[in-house]
Symmetry: C2
Subunit: 155 residues, 2 copies
């Protein structure tokens, strides 16, 4: 898994959040994930399959940031994570994966997306179990952090 | 989504847990999931794609039950959910989905599996965001409960 493959996900998240909520995320350095774990409060997960690889992606938000995104989009800020927020995280997960899929398709990498599932629970963690390297991409904002993690294995 | 499609997942979970851990789960009645939510402590998630549908599956365990499964398999019982447990839940998710895939293939339904991601976090919930009916299958055991949820949408 190389930078050419990682960057489209990074670019896509920044674009989606900027476009939807006029919030500009600051990307940190993508890193191989070993034992450090991204914790958060609500996560979108997506399975991906291509003829040669398969894998999973997660986008994990801290509550304070996703509530601010909702506030910027709709002018209303729930007190905690409710069904409107999990719907929003599912939609963001679809849009980020779809955006990366389009960017990668232009480079000759094609994959199919499954459908998103959204986890909510204070301080949960996610372990991707594909037999391949796990890449974590951190993003920061004054209202909180968000992490993308992806992992692929050869079929 | 009909019984013919649901039963292979139900049968597969019962078989996998019985074979791996000699624990006999008692299946409850599969139900359309509306607003009642399956809560648990560790979940395996899997994306699935076929030419005509795509969706997601989750298997959510209460901590007490997954620790007992580990104990029956390996004779050791961690005090809480650790990486051995999330590896086990990932493997169970692979085996249950793979078993259902084989049973469904015999009936002419073929799908591809992504790779599992495992969520750990006390009392987390999962919302499947495919645009289709959500089915929940509860299973009980004296050591705790486990739930399968699946959701598919037409492509």
């Amino acid at each position: 898994m190389n930078v050419e493959f990682i960057n489209p996900f990074l670019v896509s998240l920044i674009n989606v959040i900027s476009t939807m909520a006029t919030i500009e995320l600051t990307p940190g350095k993508p890193q191989l994930k070993n034992h450090d774990i991204a914790k958060g409060d609500v996560s979108g997960l997506m399975g991906m399959i291509s003829p040669k690889t398969r894998g999973s992606l997660s986008i994990t938000f801290e509550q304070s940031l996703i509530l601010e995104i909702m506030n910027n989009m709709l002018g209303e800020k729930p007190e905690s994570i409710n069904e409107d927020i999990t719907d929003l995280v599912g939609e963001i997960t679809n849009m980020v994966t779809g955006g990366a899929k389009n960017l990668l398709s232009e480079k000759g990498y094609d994959f199919d997306m499954a459908t998103p599932a959204v986890v909510s629970g204070k301080n949960h963690t996610i372990s991707h179990k594909a037999r391949g390297k796990k890449i974590m991409m951190p993003f920061s904002h004054k209202h909180g952090n968000v992490f993308i993690e992806i992992c692929f294995e050869d079929v």
